[in-house]
Symmetry: C2
Subunit: 588 residues, 2 copies
């Protein structure tokens, strides 16, 4: 059985000391979200995660969701836990008070996302997609629809889904086949098959609000003919009560490597009644409002699973005795705790330095996200949105990939025990393995980054980002000097790589495509390094006020700068060799 | 359902063109093993793997081995397949003709090991450990024991195990608690618990020959008091027939992440009759005869799983259409096969270049192994053994880690489908995940490499190895020049890293320990590059005789030199930053 204690201290440190974005601090609605309030929330969240949600992880893995007589049943304990979960208001944390939400910013809700990802990713997914659907409806739907659906979704009594993928199209949504036929009353009849629908059906909520992309009969082919529809499992009556069943059935549920407590459904829409959200043929961009926020959350899932893997590894390393360390003092040859071995310590610090750096980066990104949504100044909003767009594929891919590295290293620390089901470690590894795949595979993220995010209609975004880092590097303080020196080397490499990339995007797109994963990693490692630098600034400034905590941070950062940043060299060297020898190859 | 076609052409290429070790070619017993004979064997092996063994993979995963009323039952189909498998003589391939074996060298049997690892690792493990036990008995036991046990093991009617691990000791066998009490007839009574025993019990063979390490009552503590015993499941009568059941019971079998068709047992020995193998208190070194060969085979398992992952990825990439490539010519915007995308091609070539390089390295190592076992000249034998010892941890760790990378990349190519059970891809990933753990975790391999293999009583082994590569690099041919130039850079880095390492082993063992995994990787990548260089030599020399095949090789090698070798830079930079900041860290 795994242990988990939410890293509240680190989260509060970020909330208190790193909430340094001037624009974020100007947002009126968040001025009353004090550190004390956040402390209370995080402490309650820590409790519910440890006591209520963590035990669901094993239950869901051992008793996967099943489809019986057309009905999807969640694993034992999920229903009771979900009831308590929504009673305590956790689904409403970041939602608009207008619809019953608590109005917390992402600087807080992202911490909660991390905690629940650590405790049980499968359980999390039931409310996560609700929030995704909530965001999309909140942004794009009419007031009538908002008033009808959002309060129940905020309350958690109804859940939500995103129905995009079909058998022939995942990445390439232009190929979708689902049809929408307009009716005389302005509603649509939706017909088609959707696959890989997370929480597509289950027994936790009274209704499920599907957001479905489909092609109206008079719409063009390709991505320009995609519209977005709200298609509820049960029709909702005028008074908000539940009406008859809509034309949606669950064809099957997937048997998967992990997240077995989550229902991944094949949904068949058969003349199901749907309501158009926003303008016709603009469905894809509306869906992407939701997808982009969702992609960041997938990154946070990787972070959460990394954290619990680290905690269990550390715990085991302090219990298990095996072999003598180089500094073994015992005369009778008795074994040391494995935490005394340099290689085990290296592995643990690698985990820790990546996790804490990622958390700091994510906190920076949460502030940017809020600015992009709620700042009064349009220009400031847009600039923040550009940063969020740039960083979304990075956080999604880097954090999910690091999640694999870290859960894998945890298995290595546990040795043979890590490979058996008893310890729960191999489950973390299997559960995390979906994160580099869903919401667009990590290669798709890398291509999105390279071809759409570096430069857009607002200008050279990557250049703005690099300039911002460089100007911070110039604000030199003596203690930071060695860190700044190292980071400077890698920012320069990122800069060269970016210039190479911009040239290739214009002149040799295959070179750019083949280098995209490496480029994403380089940008990611530099960004985490930059986040660490901000943390270090606080550490040295406030050192005397909390010496142990800051010393721990400084040493963890040292690891990151010494041993993680140099990964950049290989990516850069390897990727810039071009792609001629790749494109010319004749695969048999 | 996965596909698999054994890469016979590549194997025969190696056997015919790369069997270039002068000392190997002097071994009398293998002079008649012609390419034609090997071709026949490999073609038959390819058939049995495709038709008989491949289907067992899914069966074993879906119906794991169970323990019922103290009896272990293998998955459906295993018994029938095993019967056919031994009838056709596959267990005897590399065994001594004196005991009924076919006497094939490892240059042939390693190919068979690869094939069966591709087809079904779980099924393979039932005969693999028999061969391990066979080797150990063959080297260390008396003629009486050999005559009694080996013929049945060679025939496959009896199987074997290695019983090392106990709850408190895996890596650190000095801590073992199992006891052996000598009886008046010279036999021993063995008592203790052994865990993680692969094929510890099952229903495929008439008897199971356990090789057990235990401590005799008058032996010292620690590793110097460990003896090796043969402990059969059923006592064997004087005439070779099966007698009464011995005092061994199966406590439980592990529920694991993968290789679910393989029975991983807890075995309880309770006054079980055992026979001492070799001299008392020398058990560990005898066991290591077997362990070392076994570790190479674990590397080959990673190679085999990589190969099948590659074949299925390539197949899928040629079937799945998604998105437009940069060179899309279609006017109606229809999607391309994903193999047209640069990033997918890069991933496939990464797999292929690592796999074929590893196979070539392994073939080189097989020749060295045979020289180390059977050459007439003691000095030549010892030199070869030093190379085998050096390369054993490298092959075990690098190939198993690359197996993770390659099976993981295969999942990414399959996208969401890769995460579901239907395609069989996620199973490759789960099955391979044991290979970096068992037979000593990869970190243990790295420490073994650094502290025991670089320099030994015969001298500076790593220096001999690097000198050998350097002298080959100096035999410059024009076509090879660009490859040699790149490899030279990395051999020089390996050389500097080795010198750094030798200094740290003397002066700062924690630095060496913390750098050991990185060092293993660097040595591994250079060794695979060196193997590629030998392949390239043949390709250019014989180019006109088989243009397509050699062109394919040259381009695949180009990928390895351009995009894989540069991984070395980061490992070197990162590892040589020392360990002070790691050892000083205070873990809370």
């Amino acid at each position: 059985m795994t242990i988990y204690n939410a890293p509240v201290e680190d989260m509060l440190f970020l909330y208190e000391k790193l909430r340094d974005n001037k624009n974020y601090n100007e947002i009126e609605r968040y001025k009353e979200v004090t550190t004390d309030l956040v402390k209370n929330i995080l402490e309650e969240a820590a409790k519910i995660n440890k006591n209520l949600i963590l035990p669901l992880a094993k239950s869901g893995d051992e008793n996967p969701t099943v489809l019986e007589n057309g009905v999807v049943r969640t694993p034992p304990g999920y229903k009771e836990a979900y009831k308590k979960f929504i009673e305590d208001g956790w689904t409403s944390l970041s939602c608009d008070p207008k619809y019953g939400g608590q109005g917390m910013p992402k600087t807080v809700s992202a911490f909660f996302d991390e905690m629940i990802s650590s405790s049980s990713l499968s359980f999390k997914l039931y409310s996560e997609l609700t929030l995704g659907a909530y965001n999309c409806i909140h942004h794009h739907a009419s007031d009538e629809i908002k008033n009808k659906y959002l309060p129940k979704m905020v309350e958690g009594k109804w859940s939500g889904t995103m129905c995009l993928t079909e058998p022939v199209c995942g990445t390439d949504l232009g190929m979708l086949k689902s049809k929408a036929i307009e009716q005389s009353d302005g509603t649509f009849k939706i017909t088609g098959q959707k696959i890989f629908i997370t929480s597509g059906d289950h027994d936790l909520t009274e209704n499920i609000v599907h957001l479905v992309i489909a092609r109206a009969s008079d719409s063009p082919q390709g991505t320009k003919g995609i519209s977005l529809f709200l298609v509820p499992k049960f029709i909702v009556n005028q008074d908000g009560s539940i009406g008859p069943r809509n034309g949606i059935s669950t064809g099957s549920i997937e048997t998967k490597m992990g997240i077995k407590g989550s229902a991944t459904c094949v949904l068949n829409f058969d003349d199901a009644t749907g309501y158009l959200i926003g303008p016709k043929n603009k469905g894809l961009s509306q869906m992407f409002t939701m997808m982009n926020l969702e992609r960041i959350v997938v990154g946070i899932q990787g972070l959460g699973l990394s954290e619990i893997a680290y905690q269990n590894s550390l715990n085991y390393a302090k219990e298990r005795k095996q072999g003598k360390s180089n500094n073994n003092k015992s005369k009778n040859g008795s074994a040391d705790l494995i935490i005394e071995h340099a290689d085990i310590r290296r592995t643990l610090l690698n985990m820790k330095s990546i996790i804490e750096g990622e958390r700091a980066l994510c906190f920076w990104l949460s502030q940017q996200t809020e600015v992009s949504l709620y700042h009064k100044d349009t220009k400031i909003k847009q600039d923040a949105l550009d940063m969020v767009s740039l960083m979304t594929p990075v956080v999604k891919s880097l954090f999910s990939d690091m999640g694999m590295e870290i859960t894998s290293d945890a298995m290595q620390i546990f040795g043979g025990y890590g490979y058996t089901k008893d310890q729960g470690i191999e489950q973390l590894y299997r559960d995390n393995r979906i994160t580099p795949i869903y919401e667009g595979t990590n290669s798709v993220q890398a291509i999105d980054l390279v071809f759409r995010k570096l430069v857009n209609k607002n200008g050279d975004i990557i250049d703005k980002y690099i300039s911002m880092i460089k100007s911070d590097l110039d604000k030199n303080s003596d203690e930071l000097k060695p860190f700044i020196k190292t980071l400077k080397i890698y920012v320069d490499k990122l800069s060269s790589f970016s210039n190479w990339m911009k040239d290739k995007i214009e002149n040799s797109r295959d070179d750019a495509n083949a280098a995209s994963n490496d480029y994403l990693r380089v940008l990611g490692y530099v960004s985490v390094g930059y986040a660490w630098l901000k943390v270090l600034g606080v550490c040295y400034k406030e050192y005397s006020s909390n010496k142990d905590f800051y010393e721990d941070k400084i040493q963890t950062a040292s690891f990151y700068f010494n041993r993680v940043l140099p990964r950049i060299d290989s990516h850069y060297l390897s990727a810039t060799t071009g792609s001629r020898y790749i494109m010319d190859f004749k695969f048999n």
